[in-house]
């Protein structure tokens, strides 16, 4: 039975995950190519992926813990900040590269058909690849602190917590990333607004602080709308008492926010997707 392709003026709003599955090899190659190209001329190669969050962690430890004397509870300060940074990097890297990916691959978009969604998804894959690499360092640091005594570092619970956090972060990035990448094709303003947007989001994400430290109810509310808040909370609560509480940390509106973000991104992307080649 031969495959039948029907081309019509406007494709429906189905997410075409089935078609995407048929193109999984291309998704792999897109991701593989980007990772290869990135490290081709960098002297330190993959080390950069580790260096960046580690340096940032050291700065936060120096300024916040040593300098301002902020308390990080039972969790050693480096671990406390690093887990937040890993989630934050995963998010900001995904969104950043997804938003620009359509434009930087314009040449290919104009000449070849493939499910366009591959491009932002490959951005998420690349960020996840970096996330995995830096995660290994996180575990090394964690075990080192455990060996020093006084700190309990339950491997499997933490791994599960990170997996849950990864899912929350990726769905969030996917919604925002696809939305921005589609808008960017038509309005290049995204390029200028994006750095500011990312920076602003950083301040309502509990990387440098604990969300419970916020006293104002309105600030608490804003924080609760941020899915990354739950991602980081899940990890930190395991680190605090060793208990994995996936559901307990979440409120009913987290799934709602994730679904809204997903639908919004998909809707805008699907609507403009067919015409990318004409306007990019």
């Amino acid at each position: 039975m031969t495959t039948e392709i029907i081309i019509r003026p406007k494709s429906g709003l189905s997410s075409k995950w089935k078609e995407l599955w048929q193109y999984r090899e291309l998704l792999y190659f897109f991701t593989w190519k980007e990772i290869k190209v990135r490290y081709k001329q960098a002297l330190l190669g993959v080390v950069w992926t580790l260096l960046q969050p580690l340096m940032m962690m050291m700065i936060l430890v120096l300024v916040l813990s040593k300098g301002l004397g902020l308390d990080t509870g039972q969790i050693p300060a480096p671990i406390y900040y690093l887990c937040g940074l890993l989630i934050w990097n995963l998010f900001s890297q995904s969104v950043n590269s997804a938003a620009n990916a359509m434009v930087s691959n314009a040449q290919i978009l104009r000449k070849i058909y493939f499910p366009r969604l591959i491009i932002p998804i490959s951005s998420m894959m690349i960020a996840s690849f970096d996330f995995l690499i830096s995660l290994s360092v996180f575990f090394i640091i964690g075990f080192w602190y455990q060996s020093q005594g006084g700190f309990h570092f339950p491997f499997f619970s933490i791994l599960v917590a990170f997996m849950v956090a990864w899912v929350i972060t990726i769905v969030t990035s996917f919604g925002i990333g696809t939305f921005l990448s589609a808008i960017n094709v038509k309005y290049r303003d995204v390029r200028y607004a994006l750095p500011f947007l990312i920076q602003a989001l950083f301040f309502i994400t509990p990387v440098m602080f604990d969300s419970k430290q916020f006293s104002q109810p309105i600030l608490q509310f804003v924080l609760q709308l941020n899915p990354l808040n739950y991602a980081i909370q899940t990890i930190r609560s395991v680190l605090t008492d060793g208990q994995l509480e996936v559901i307990g940390n979440m409120s009913w509106h987290l799934p709602l926010i994730l679904v809204i973000l997903y639908i919004l991104g998909m809707y805008v992307f699907r609507r403009t997707e067919a015409y990318f080649a004409d306007i990019v």
Binding site: T2, E4, I6, I7, R8, E25, I112, F114, Y187
Partner: protein, 407 residues
């Protein structure tokens, strides 16, 4: 068995004068008052009611002048852009080749580029692996396969790109004018390979090219497009002669002034003069001919050291003679505004027939304007040789002054 390609009443609407394809928010805000007006004025139909069916095993060429809608049709079939109205059904695995070397990255090695390019063209990993040696051997760059592409010469890059493309294996092949570049010998090798592939069992091929002899070689049927309308579908030979008869003869333009050209530098006129300076549309071979070009430089700056070229082509698309402003070492500076240039040919050497010509302006590697098939000139029997004899047109097109002697 159901047909391999069904195109049912396809229409495509485009915006005219796409000077800026994407916009900034500011552009949108500042043009709000004229939104309605602009949208009405700028739309045009690039394709109108295209309708045809191809059975598995058919191979057709799409023929038409520049801007007739050939590439738009191919883009719709390739799913790069959707039709505005109508429907297309493709049955089978599709490989579309609108460009060779799509996605080539200079930092990646030849091998890595083969994998990425092959994958983007729709090959599976196992398939690329299986054909890898064959691709490399075909391209003739074995020695450099692990070298980053940036160290390749442009010729080598082209060969590698063609090799991947030539090994595409699908039931439906959509091919644009990709074969129009690169060195001739390798080009022929590729066409041979494509020919072999397309003659295979049940392959359906849609081929777009200006090169009518390539179309003849690769296809058995043709579709004639003009101004976005489908004029006919028939055997290739019939379509090519129809193209000559209807399109070229009905548009006996010396110069196509209506053509949408490049923005910065454009040809505002091109005319042919005889020795008395009178404008002519046909010339007798052997007579002097002066080509008068008006070039409008809209860049508001002086363009130093420009090169202007005229290439005369026969109706099969083969280049006959090239006249280039640099062969005499002419230092051509184009000032802002209109520039007039003349090119004098003492004895026009093309034998009787109809020829089209391309015009080009470049500077270094930058092409300012490349106007394909800018117009037509007809040549008649004349006294290129004193005797008035001209060898049979079947044997030659370009006449060369020469002497015979019995020793």
């Amino acid at each position: 068995m159901k047909p391999a390609i069904e195109v049912k009443g396809v229409w495509k609407e485009y915006r005219k004068g796409i000077d800026k394809r994407y916009k900034s928010l500011r552009d949108v805000l500042t043009t709000i008052p004229s939104w309605r007006k602009r949208q009405q004025a700028e739309l045009f139909w690039a394709l109108q009611d295209i309708d045809f069916t191809l059975n598995a095993g058919d191979s057709i060429g799409i023929i038409g002048r520049n801007g007739a809608g050939k590439s738009t049709l191919l883009k719709i079939l390739s799913r790069i852009t959707p039709p505005t109205k109508g429907e297309v059904i493709l049955r089978g695995r599709v490989a579309s080749l609108l460009e060779v070397g799509t996605g080539f990255h200079p930092e990646l090695t030849g091998k890595e580029n083969i994998y990425f390019n092959g994958s983007i063209l729709g090959m599976h990993r196992a398939e690329i692996k299986r054909k890898f040696d064959e691709i490399v051997e075909f391209s003739g760059v074995e020695a450099f396969i692990d070298t980053p592409l940036k160290h390749y010469s442009s010729g080598m890059q082209m060969r590698l790109a063609f090799s991947v493309a030539a090994h595409l294996d699908a039931e439906i092949l959509l091919i644009d004018e990709v074969l129009a570049v690169g060195d001739m010998a390798f080009q022929q090798k590729c066409i041979g390979k494509m020919d072999e592939v397309s003659k295979g069992e049940g392959k359906t091929v849609v081929f777009v090219s200006h090169n009518l002899s390539q179309i003849k070689q690769l296809t058995s049927g043709g579709i004639l497009l003009d101004y976005g309308k489908q004029l006919a579908q028939d055997a290739t030979d019939n379509i090519i002669s129809l193209y000559h008869k209807n399109i070229l003869k009905n548009h006996l333009y010396t110069f196509d002034k209506e053509r949408v050209q490049a923005e910065d530098v454009l040809f505002s006129n091109c005319s042919f003069r005889n020795i008395e300076g009178q404008e002519i549309t046909q010339v007798e071979c052997g007579n002097p001919l002066c080509v008068l070009l008006e070039i409008e430089n809209r860049t508001k700056a002086l363009i130093k050291d420009a090169l202007v070229g005229i290439v005369f082509k026969n109706l099969q698309g083969g280049s006959m003679i090239a006249l280039s402003s640099n062969v005499h070492g002419l230092q051509l500076d184009l000032q802002a505004g209109t520039n007039t240039i003349s090119c004098q040919i003492d004895k026009f050497p093309l034998s009787p027939g109809t020829y089209s010509y391309n015009l080009i302006i470049t500077r270094g590697n930058h092409i300012y304007n490349w106007m394909k098939e800018a117009g037509i000139i007809q040549t008649h029997h004349g006294f290129f040789f004193e005797s008035g004899e001209i060898p049979s047109p079947k044997l030659q097109t370009v006449l060369v002054a020469h002497n015979w002697k019995k020793l």
